[in-house]
């Protein structure tokens, strides 16, 4: 009996074609390697470099002088991330489950605006808005909702949190609301037919299905906020302050790259831990 399966085609030029995908990737890999991995490597090595060879002095100085700033940074970013998560779920939830179509349209059009405003402009706007004699307090006093002696400045950690949430909330909402809009509405409608409240539907049906998207939005927001210099610099000269301000101070005023690198390493580890927790969670879910 003759085999009906056609013979495989001769593999002419197989070596060149197998290299082709790598050649296509090469420029991107080069850019990542040269402009991200290599400087990161130098920065990590720099954290352990001293005038007389390898040392832990930089890390010691970083923790000795800036441990309060590190704690302050983590608390501010964690609080902002939590508020961003709540806000994104609230806005996304209303866009998905809200009953007033006009209000949904207005909210959908408005929530994206801060996306297009740079952090430094947001910080500058906030300085004029939440200062002791800023627009917010003056307006509240003017319309009689607050006596002048109650006016206080929010240009401290509260101002940083407000600015971070104002700036990052649209980004997180974009991801979360998009995922909610893409859900199969059959489950939502079935729950509505059975008399479930909107809050119950949001907590029991919608959020579990978009939990991964919420995590992505929050992890990306966390990492972004960890690296922002302009907002703490402009909003709050108070101490403690965020690590980015301390890093800029060590480099700009003292030319001390070693301690700045050590602070950068600490910030990288903090961001890396969050990313690792998220990846671990994602891997567990993928394995199910």
């Amino acid at each position: 009996m003759r085999d009906a399966t056609p013979a495989p085609a001769p593999r002419t030029g197989a070596g060149a074609s197998s290299l082709f995908p790598y050649l296509l990737l090469a420029p991107a890999l080069f850019v990542v390697g040269a402009f991200f991995v290599l400087p990161l490597g130098f920065s990590v090595v720099g954290a352990f470099e001293g005038n007389e060879g390898p040392t832990l002095d930089n890390l010691g100085r970083a923790f000795g002088l800036y441990r309060t700033d590190l704690l302050f940074t983590l608390l501010i970013v964690a609080a902002s991330t939590a508020l961003i998560g709540l806000g994104a779920i609230a806005i996304g939830g209303y866009l998905t489950l809200g009953r007033n179509a006009k209000a949904r349209r207005i909210l959908a059009a408005m929530y994206r605006w801060p996306l297009f405003i740079p952090f430094i402009v947001a910080a500058q706007a906030m300085r004029g808005f939440i200062g002791q004699n800023g627009l917010m307090n003056n307006t509240l006093i003017w319309i009689g909702l607050m006596p002048p002696e109650w006016a206080q400045s929010f240009l401290d950690w509260r101002g940083i949190v407000i600015t971070f949430v104002w700036k990052q909330l649209p980004f997180a909402t974009l991801l979360v609301a998009g995922a909610m809009a893409a859900l199969d509405r059959a489950g939502i409608e079935a729950a509505q037919n059975l008399g479930a409240s909107r809050m119950r539907i949001l907590l029991g049906i919608v959020i579990p299905q978009v939990a991964r998207n919420i995590m992505v939005a929050l992890v990306l927001s966390f990492v972004t906020m960890m690296s922002v210099l302009s907002v703490p610099l402009m909003i709050s000269g108070q101490s403690p302050t965020m690590l980015t301000v301390a890093m800029a101070w060590r480099i700009n005023a003292l030319g001390d790259y070693g301690t700045a690198n050590a602070l950068g390493l600490v910030a990288c580890i903090a961001s890396g831990l969050v990313a690792w927790a998220w990846l671990r969670q994602s891997a567990r879910e993928a394995a199910r």
Partner: protein, 383 residues
């Protein structure tokens, strides 16, 4: 080309050849200046155009590198990078730097010696012309101006301002969050206040100013810095030199340390209430000059020297430094006073008369102490 055109072209070339050499060349003079925006404004709005009018073909390009020692640090980084790259000439022709960095640049051979060749070199004879925070800089620098930190206050809220740090400490306790300063990360007026505190409450003011450096002398400041930490609980930390003036003007604070020149300039420009006043505590607050320097291997060193000669000439020091920008002159005062009317001269000393200035003005600490005190502040006050 007909004969007439040829003759005209020949005449034009011959005419160009007859011009003075410096008038023909097109030169861009790069002036990098540390300090606040007023430093850039001074060169962009006043000194640069004046020099360009006197030197056709020269364009002055002023670049600000930022306030405080951080601004001088950036200039050092630029020069150091070009030295490491073995550049034959550097792209900074004139730099305006703080004392601390001027001393370091001289020690590291980054600057050219020029004061002996400058026509105005002998008009500046004060100690800061030769010594910058313990480093010999004789011949390498010309003071652009001198400035002084003082306490600005609102007389409507503070009719009797404290004239000592002890009195200030007590006032801040009785009036929480009505005193503001910019810490040590937001410009030199805040740094100067911290040094003034160390001078007032530390055991040996003279040692901090004159050196030699000793780590134990820094450790001896710990009680003073702990006292400052308590003081900070009752004050507002502002966003910078300008932030303190802003907060004062908005009524958010009633007192705070500022540069005297910025204070007078803001008042002259209508950015600060004319009612605000200055006081200088008797235990002293530091002041400092800014220096003109010429980097070694500057591409246009001769033009740079002429620029500094103009900048340190008595008429320019009188008109630009004193009258327009309210700084104390960089060259000796007697050369400048002759070019000013009495009213302008008096305005410079309106709140802080010459005798009070003489008693209260201090240099910044010796360079090693300067850095060590800032780090001690971070360790003791901020933690």
């Amino acid at each position: 080309m007909d004969r007439r055109s040829l003759l005209l072209a020949t005449a034009a070339i011959a005419g160009a050849g007859a011009l003075p050499a410096h008038a023909q060349q097109r030169v861009t003079l790069n002036v990098l200046t540390a300090g606040d925006q007023n430093m850039v404004d001074y060169i962009t709005d006043y000194l640069g155009p004046l020099f360009q009018r006197q030197n056709p073909g020269v364009t002055v390009r002023a670049i600000g590198t930022g306030p405080g020692d951080a601004g001088s640090q950036r200039i050092w980084e630029r020069l150091e990078a070009q030295r490491r790259a073995n550049a034959q000439s550097v792209d900074v022709d004139v730099a305006v730097v703080h004392q601390n960095m001027a001393g370091r640049m001289v020690a590291e051979g980054l600057l050219a010696r020029f004061r002996e060749q400058a026509a105005t070199g002998n008009l500046a004879t004060s100690a800061v012309t030769r010594n910058a925070l313990g480093q010999n800089v004789d011949g390498f620098v010309m003071p652009m101006f001198n400035s002084q930190v003082a306490i600005a206050f609102n007389p409507a809220r503070v009719p009797n301002p404290p004239t000592s740090f002890e009195a200030l400490e007590q006032w801040a306790r009785q009036n929480p969050r009505r005193f503001g300063y910019n810490g040590i990360r937001g410009g030199m007026s805040g740094v100067g206040f911290v040094f003034g505190w160390a001078y007032a409450f530390g055991p040996d003011q003279r040692r901090l100013i004159e050196g030699p450096f000793d780590a134990e002398a820094v450790a001896a400041l710990t009680p003073a810095l702990q006292r400052l930490r308590e003081f900070n609980r009752n004050v507002v930390i502002t966003g910078g030199n300008a932030g303190t003036l802003d907060a004062l003007n908005r009524g958010e604070i009633d007192m705070g340390p500022v540069w005297m020149d910025m204070f007078y300039t803001w008042q002259a420009e209508g950015r600060l209430s004319p009612n605000m006043r200055l006081v200088l505590p008797e235990s002293g607050l530091p002041g400092q000059p800014m220096y003109y320097v010429i980097p070694a291997r500057a591409a246009n060193a001769d033009v740079a020297r002429r620029f500094i000669e103009l900048a340190t000439s008595p008429p320019v020091q009188a008109e630009g430094i004193v009258r327009r920008f309210n700084w104390l002159p960089g060259i000796d005062a007697q050369h400048v006073q002759a070019h000013l009317d009495q009213q302008t001269w008096n305005r410079l000393f309106r709140d802080v008369p010459p005798d009070v200035l003489a008693r209260g003005a201090r240099p910044m600490p010796q360079a090693d102490f300067m850095r060590a005190i800032q780090e001690a502040y971070e360790r003791v006050v901020l933690n």
